[in-house]
Symmetry: C2
Subunit: 412 residues, 2 copies
Amino acid sequence: MTIIEQAEKVKIASQILVGISAEQLNQALNQIATALLAHEKEIIAANELDMEQGRLNRTPDARLDRLMLNEARIKGMASDVSDVAKLPDVLGDFQGFTRPNGLKVTKLSVPLGVVGMIYESRPNVTVDAAILCLKSGNAVLLRGGKEAHHSNQALVNVIKSALVESGLPADAVELVQDTSRETATQMMKLDGYLDLLIPRGGAALIQSVKEHATVPIIETGTGNCHIYINEFADLQMALDILINAKVQRPSVCNACENVVIDKAVASDVLPLIKAALEGHGVQLRGCQATTDIIAVQLASADDFYTEYNDLLLSIKVVDHIDEAILHINEHGTKHSEAIVTENQVYARRFLQRIDAACVYHNASTRFSDGAALGFGAEIGISTQKLHARGPFALKELTTYKYVIEGTGQVRK
Amino acid sequence: MTIIEQAEKVKIASQILVGISAEQLNQALNQIATALLAHEKEIIAANELDMEQGRLNRTPDARLDRLMLNEARIKGMASDVSDVAKLPDVLGDFQGFTRPNGLKVTKLSVPLGVVGMIYESRPNVTVDAAILCLKSGNAVLLRGGKEAHHSNQALVNVIKSALVESGLPADAVELVQDTSRETATQMMKLDGYLDLLIPRGGAALIQSVKEHATVPIIETGTGNCHIYINEFADLQMALDILINAKVQRPSVCNACENVVIDKAVASDVLPLIKAALEGHGVQLRGCQATTDIIAVQLASADDFYTEYNDLLLSIKVVDHIDEAILHINEHGTKHSEAIVTENQVYARRFLQRIDAACVYHNASTRFSDGAALGFGAEIGISTQKLHARGPFALKELTTYKYVIEGTGQVRK
C-alpha cells in the first residue's frame, strides 16, 4: 500500500472518530493496555528481530538499549496507557455568546483530525503517540524508523486489534509500511491528509521537516538551555541547580548546555563549578574570561550554539544581567532558561525578557516536561510560538471550530 | 538595506516592545491615527505616484480602485486605528498554579515577537497589519507589493514618526524596501527573525508560501464555501441566505461558491434559484442532476473545487445529508459552511461532521469575519487548524510562556 493510500484510510477513520464519546475513547485505551500485556510475547519476538539486525549493523549499545523491549518495559507501556486513559478529557470544552443580531456563536474544542509523526528508534514512541492522539480524538499516521519496524508493526497490530474490539476504526492508527527516506519526505507534503506533522528526532530531522514540509508542523525538542548565575545568587543553590540540570540526564532536551556567570562572582563560583562538574565527569569549555580563572578548554563560537546532549558544558562570563539576557536570547533555542538570584528585580527582568517556552527562577530547567509541570504525558516540547509552546500534550492536540446558529440571518 | 538587515532591526525593536504597557501601546495607536490625518496630503501625493504607474500599466479598474487613497479613505483608516486602540488588551492574561514540590507555575500571554506579512495591492493592509501587531505587542516586517510601494512607504513613514513621538522604537514597523519577487522568497526563510509569517493574497501566493516557508505560517483566506439546502429547509430562508452569501460581496473569501441541494427538494428549489440568482447576474453551473431540472451549463469536476470570487455559482444535487457532508468535506477549504434546515437532528449532524473553521445553521456564511463575530479587527481568516482557526485577530497574535518560580528545586 502506498503512503497516500494509507493516509486516505487514516483520514476516513478520523472522520469516524468525530463524535465518539470520551468514555468510548478511554475504554479503547484501557483495551489497548490489556492487549499490550496479553501480546507481550509476540511483541518481544518482533523486537528480537530488530535487535538482531541492530547487532549485525553494529549499532552502538546506547541505541540498542533504546530499541530494546522486555516484559518490564511492556508493563511500563501498558501502565502509561492506563494513566493517559485516566487524564481529564480535552474535547467538548466550549465558550458561547449571542450576537446583537441573535446569532448564537459557540467556540468548541475539537480534534485536529489526522496527526502525522516521524520518529526514530524508540518503539515506545509508537504507543505514546497513538494513545495521546486517540485520547484527543485524532487518528494518527506513524512513520517510525527502519531499525524498529518489526517492533512498531507488532505494537500497531496490537493497538489495531484493541481498537476493533472497542468498536473504533482500526485505521485510526496506521504505521507507514515503507520506511525508505522517500516516505518521510512524502509525509511532509501530505496536504489534504495531515492536519499536523510532528517530527521527533535529531536536529537534522527537524531541519529537513522545516525545509520540506508543506503541511503544518510543530518543531520540538531542540534545547540549548542555559543556567544564568546572577551576582546575587545563592551560590550553593546555583551549584545544586547546575549540577542537576547538567548531570541528572544529559541526553534530554531540557538538560543545561551552557552556564552564564556574572563577572562579579565568577572567581568565587568557577572553581566550585570545575570541582563539582569535573567530579561528575563533565568536560568544561569556557570563554576567554573563564579560562583566565580556571584551567579549562577555550570554547569556540560554535560551542555556545551547541546542544551537546552529553557530559559537556560551555561557560560564558558576562558583565551584567543585560548581557546575560542578550547572550541567552541570541544562543538559546527558546526551550528552557533559568536565572539563579536572590534579587527580585533582576529575576523579574529575566523572566520577562527571556524569549523561551519555559523561564525559571531558582529552579532546574529539568522540570520542562508535561509530567513534571502537571500536564500529564506529552508528545514533545514545542520550541516554536505558534499553537503550542512548551509541553505538547493532550490539549495541544486539539483545535476548535466556531458553531454559529441562526434563524435566517444574512449580512447587511 | 538588505531584508536581513531590516529584519535584524525589527527583531531588536520587538525586544524593546516586551514590557511596554498596554496604555503606552494604545497611546501610540492614537498618535498614529492623528498622524494619518495630519499627513493626509503627503499620503495622497505618494499614492498618486502608484496610481499613475498603475494607469500606465493598464491595471484593471477594480485593482486601481483597491489601490486608490483619498481623504475619505484615510479618515476611514484613522478611525479604524482609533477603534483598535479601544479594543480590550490581550497581553498579560495568565493562569497559575503551584506544584506539590512548591514550584509556582504561571502561564502568561505574551506577544509572538516579530510578525512578517506578505501582501498585495491594497495599502490599507499596511496600516491594519501594523496596528494589530502593535496593539498585541509585536513588531512587524511588511512586504507589500511593488504596485503600492510609494503609498506603503508614505504610510509607514507616518507610523514611524508617530511611534517615535510615543517613545516607541521606530523600527517596530518596517517596510521591505526591495519589492522584487526574491525578497518574498527570502522572507519565507527568515528563521531566527520571524515568529510568524502571514501571506495575504491569492491562492498562488499562499501556495508559494506553503512550499517555500521554513518559518511558521498561517494560511488564510481561501474560501470555497458551501450552502447546503436540506430537504427540511425553509425554502424561502434558504433562498435569502444563498442570495446574501453569493451576491452581497462575491469577491470575498466568506462568499458562497457552491450550493448543495437535497434531491427531495431540488425540483422545487432549483427554478427559484435560477430565477433569483440569474436576476442578480450570477452565472450557474450544475451537476448532471441539476441540468435535468433547469437549463444551466454543466459543471466540470474542477468547478466544485473552484473559489470563483465572482458572480458564478456551482450547484450539486445530493441524495441525502451524508452525501452532502462528504461532498463539502471533500471540496471545501475548511473556511465556512452552512446548512439550512428546520430538522435539529440533521443540523447537529452537519455542525459536528463538517470540518471547517465556521459551521453555520440557518445563517449566511458572510458572517465569518472578526467584526461580524464580535472579535474586532482581524488580519485574515485562518483555514488551518494550528494556533488559530477562523478570524485571526488580536488574541491570535499572541503566544504564551511558562514562568516557573522556585526556591532551589531540582529534578529527582
